[in-house]
Each structure stands twice: as structure tokens, then as C-alpha cells.
Amino acid sequence: MSGVALTVAAVEAGYGDVQVLWGVDLDVGPGEIVCVIGSNGAGKTTLLRTISGVVRARAGRIAFGETDLTAATPADVLGAGIAHVPEGRRLFAAMSVEDNLKMGAFLRRDQAGIREDLERVYQYFPKLHERRRQDAGTLSGGEQQMCAVGRGIMSAPRLLMIDELSLGLAPQIVEQLSEILLRIRGDGLSILVVEQDVNAALELADRGFVVDRGRITLHGDTETLQTDPQVREAYLGMA
């Protein structure tokens, strides 16, 4: 797969009068897994929503490889190769699992490629294949997250952004999902994951960014972050 990097430079964004992001810099290299950690309301979700074009950046620059995405629509961003798995899964509850997955390919026209990717998703998540005719609303939390990630993959992205992978899931399930994400990365995708569960995030990722009140306060290798006194105290509950 071609190596394309996501670059976020000095981005500011918010909702109405409330500014959430204050000059955020972040980058994700080809084939990398990068995590964004931080507490509730730090701006993690807004950061992903800004990258995917749902929220418009007020200043700064977002680019994916050579493609400028600063003022792009969600469809443009998806077309450039960035898929967004939103917080809380956001499945189409009354649609079948398979229709949910196919919905991920809404902008694609290559029927053969879509079928191939559907097979690929079922290989990653055999559970989804078992339940492909079931309504997505009847899935367990872990299966729903699988479906949401699978739906993201169906757009054939080069970068997969996941908002709160572990939200409401048992640690065991998170571990299973993490293993599959490593396989997905092995197949050539880069992954940007936003997490409140700092332990899980640092286990999975190569590099991490710490967000606090809309600013990046720290970034580096996950090994470095894990031993950083500030991170240990604020997010891992260790002195």
C-alpha cells in the first residue's frame, strides 16, 4: 500500500461560540497506530470530527499526503481515504449487519471491490458473518463495535479513525479487538484511535498524543508516555 501521512497543523475548531481545539498539531505516518488520549471533554472527539469534515476547522491545516482536507466535506475526506468510526458505534439499528457494512461503501462504485472487502471484513470478524442477516441493534456491544469498524473498512480507507474503541466493552473484548486492529494494520492501514482508557490505548499504539483542554500537551512513543510521570499520575492513577 502506498504510504500516506495525515498531517494536522495548528488546527482550531469548535461549535458556535465555544472553541474546543486550540492549535492542535498531530500526525499519523503510513502503517502507524497512533492514539489520542485525554479526559472527558478534552476535545478528542472534536479532533476526529474536524479531521473527517463534520466540523469545519477555523484555522490551521489538515492534509492527507498531498491532498488538502482543511475545508473538505465528509464525503471528500472519505474519498481521500480516511474512514471515521464514530463514538458510540452509531449503527443503523434496524438494518441488517450486512446492510450496515455495505453502507460503509456508499460512495464506492466498484462492485467487485466491495464484495472483496466484505469478504475481508468477514475474515477479520467471523462473528459478523454468522450474524450478517440479523438487525445490527440486536448485536452485543463488542459485536457492534466490530460492525462499526467493519463498516469503516468497507470504504477502503488508508487511514481508519476510531473514536472510543473500548467504550462500554469488557477488557477481554477490547483485547480481542486490539489484536484484530493489529492485523488490519498489518494489511497496510494506518489507525488513529481516540481513547479514554489510557492503558488499552498505550498497549495498542506505537505513538500517542495527550490532549488537555483542546491542546496537545505531550506526545511521543507509547513506551515513553507510559513512564512519563505526568501521564502516570493524571491518567494511569499511579504516582
Binding site: 465528509p74 439499528a93 460512495l107
Partner: protein, 310 residues
């Protein structure tokens, strides 16, 4: 394929009714076709896309007046009808862009106000619309039975056209997008569905056929006035029919229109004073006992029986 077959058979059966010279039956048939058109129209935006629109009366009235004004200027009837659809559809696209940013109750109220505003505009533009005096439409020089047959066939034709479009939408990319917006608009957005465009398209679709229905209605009854064609009931009735038949289903709205018209004829003519109360009770009863409509409930019952047999 099955849906086209149902449409074909239905068209044939209802078409045969036109042979009847019974004007009462033909009047009922015309009402039924009109109700079906309005219900299916509302279903595009309210059922499939999940935006509770109360603008049907606005489109109906706008269509009726567009056609009446053109015919008053000596345009042929057909031109009036076609223009009614275009004007109502175009108007919906324009007004849809701002008000479809609202959701739920807020959208419902905004859409409700459109009809009220249009009625006031028509009321005060006396030189063009005759204001509260209403407008007369040209009388056709045909015997009453032939007119009844003709208008029945026209309204039926519109209903068939609306159903055909509904079938295409239902099975197509458009319907897929509508249903995604109905279920989870945020998710649809991040999957690259241009929700604004699709919502506006659904609103436009709901307007075009309502507008033409209003235009045909005007010629059918020869006379329109603001209170009649912008009547809020034109917004409420289709909604009740769709709830009766099955929200977001393909043939549910038609089914709902049949049941609704039967109720209207059987009950309300005899209890004129309390018919609004009957409507209220009906809505409450439906929400309580048939939240997913008759069509869906029948399907569930049928499935249960089939399950037992197997």
C-alpha cells in the same frame, strides 16, 4: 419485481372502477387516489427519512393555486398541472435547505408554519388570487358522469406514477440513503452520505406529487379558496394514513389511505360534530396498539403463523 406486479394488478383493478357510471363511487375513488398520493408523498420525508413534515397542505395549496392562476391566464389545464408539480417541488427545495437543518419537533413546527404563511400570502394577494373570495376554475363542457370518470382516471394516474417513483426510490440508492438518515443521521454523515442533499431531495419528492394532486383537485371541484386547500387537515390526514399503514413501508401508505377513507365515510359522515375527536382517538389508539402500522403488524402475524406451521 413483485412490487411492479402488485402495482400492475392494482392499476388494472382500480382502472376497471372507472367503467362504473356511479358518480358516488367515482368520487370515493378519486378521493382515495388523492389520499394515496398525499400519503405516499408524506412517506418520502416523514416515513423513510424520519422528518415529521406538516407541510403537505402547503404543497397541496401551492399546487392548486399555481394551476388555478395559470388557467385563469388561459393556459391549458395540463400546463397548469405540470407547473403545479414544478413550482411545489422547486419551492420545497428552496425552503427545505434552511428548515431541514432543524430536527424533530422543531422541524415539525417550522414545516407547519409554511402552509400558514402561504395561506396568508394568498389571502392578501387579492389581485392575483382573489384573496379570501377564492378562485373559480374553468368548467368542462362534459356530462357529469364523464367528468367524474375523467378526474378519477387522472387522479388514479397520478397515484400510479407516485407509486412507481416510490418503488424506484424504495429499492434504489436514494431510499437506502433516506433510511440511513432516518436511523442515524450522524453515522450517515461520516459514511459520506451528503445528508443535506438527500433530505432536500426527500422533501422535494414529497412536494411534487402533493402539488399536482392539489392542481387536479382544484379542477375537480371547480373552486378553491385558501381555507380549503391550505387546510391543516391536508397535512394531518396523510400522516395518520401512513401511521395506519406502516411508517416507511412501500405499500403501507396506500393501505392506510384505504382504511382511512373507509373510516371517514362510515363514521365521520354520521358524527360530523365530533369527527376531530374521532381522529384524535384514532391517533392515540394507533400509537398504543399499532405503533408500526397495519402492514408491518400483518407481516409479523403472518410470520408468526408461518413459524408455527414450520
Amino acid at each position: 419485481m413483485r412490487d411492479w406486479l402488485i402495482l400492475g394488478v392494482g392499476t388494472l383493478l382500480f382502472g376497471l372502477l372507472a367503467l362504473s357510471g356511479d358518480t358516488y363511487l367515482l368520487r370515493l375513488g378519486t378521493m382515495l387516489a388523492m389520499y394515496a398520493v398525499l400519503a405516499m408523498s408524506w412517506n418520502f420525508i416523514g416515513g423513510m427519512t424520519g422528518y415529521p413534515s406538516f407541510a403537505t397542505a402547503a404543497f397541496f395549496g401551492l399546487g392548486a393555486y399555481t394551476s388555478a392562476i395559470l388557467q385563469a391566464a388561459q393556459m391549458p389545464m395540463a400546463v397548469g398541472w405540470a407547473a403545479a408539480g414544478l413550482v411545489a417541488g422547486g419551492f420545497a427545495l428552496l425552503i427545505g435547505l434552511p428548515i431541514l437543518r432543524l430536527k424533530g419537533h422543531y422541524f415539525a413546527i417550522a414545516s407547519l408554519s409554511i402552509g400558514e404563511i402561504l395561506r396568508e400570502v394568498v389571502n392578501t394577494s387579492e389581485e392575483i388570487t382573489g384573496g379570501g373570495m377564492g378562485m373559480n376554475l374553468p368548467l368542462l363542457r362534459l356530462p357529469p358522469e364523464v367528468q367524474a370518470q375523467a378526474f378519477y382516471l387522472c387522479m388514479l394516474g397520478l397515484a400510479v406514477l407516485t407509486t412507481a417513483v416510490a418503488i424506484l426510490v424504495h429499492h434504489g440508492r436514494l431510499g437506502f440513503a433516506f433510511r440511513c438518515i432516518e436511523q442515524n443521521e450522524d453515522a450517515a454523515t461520516v459514511l459520506g452520505v451528503d445528508t443535506r442533499t438527500f433530505k432536500t431531495a426527500a422533501f422535494g419528492l414529497s412536494a411534487v406529487f402533493s402539488g399536482v394532486a392539489g392542481a387536479i383537485y382544484g379542477n375537480w371541484v371547480h373552486y378553491i379558496e385558501p381555507l380549503d386547500v391550505f387546510d391543516i387537515m391536508h397535512s394531518v390526514k396523510p400522516l395518520v394514513m401512513v401511521l395506519l399503514g406502516g411508517l416507511g413501508t412501500l405499500f403501507g401508505p396506500i393501505f392506510g389511505a384505504i382504511v382511512f377513507l373507509a373510516l371517514e365515510e362510515a363514521v365521520w359522515r354520521n358524527f360530523l360534530g365530533v369527527h376531530a375527536a374521532v381522529l384524535g382517538v384514532l391517533i392515540v389508539a394507533m400509537v398504543l396498539f399499532l405503533p408500526r402500522g397495519l402492514a408491518t403488524s400483518f407481516e409479523q402475524i403472518a410470520r408468526r403463523f408461518r413459524g408455527k406451521a414450520a
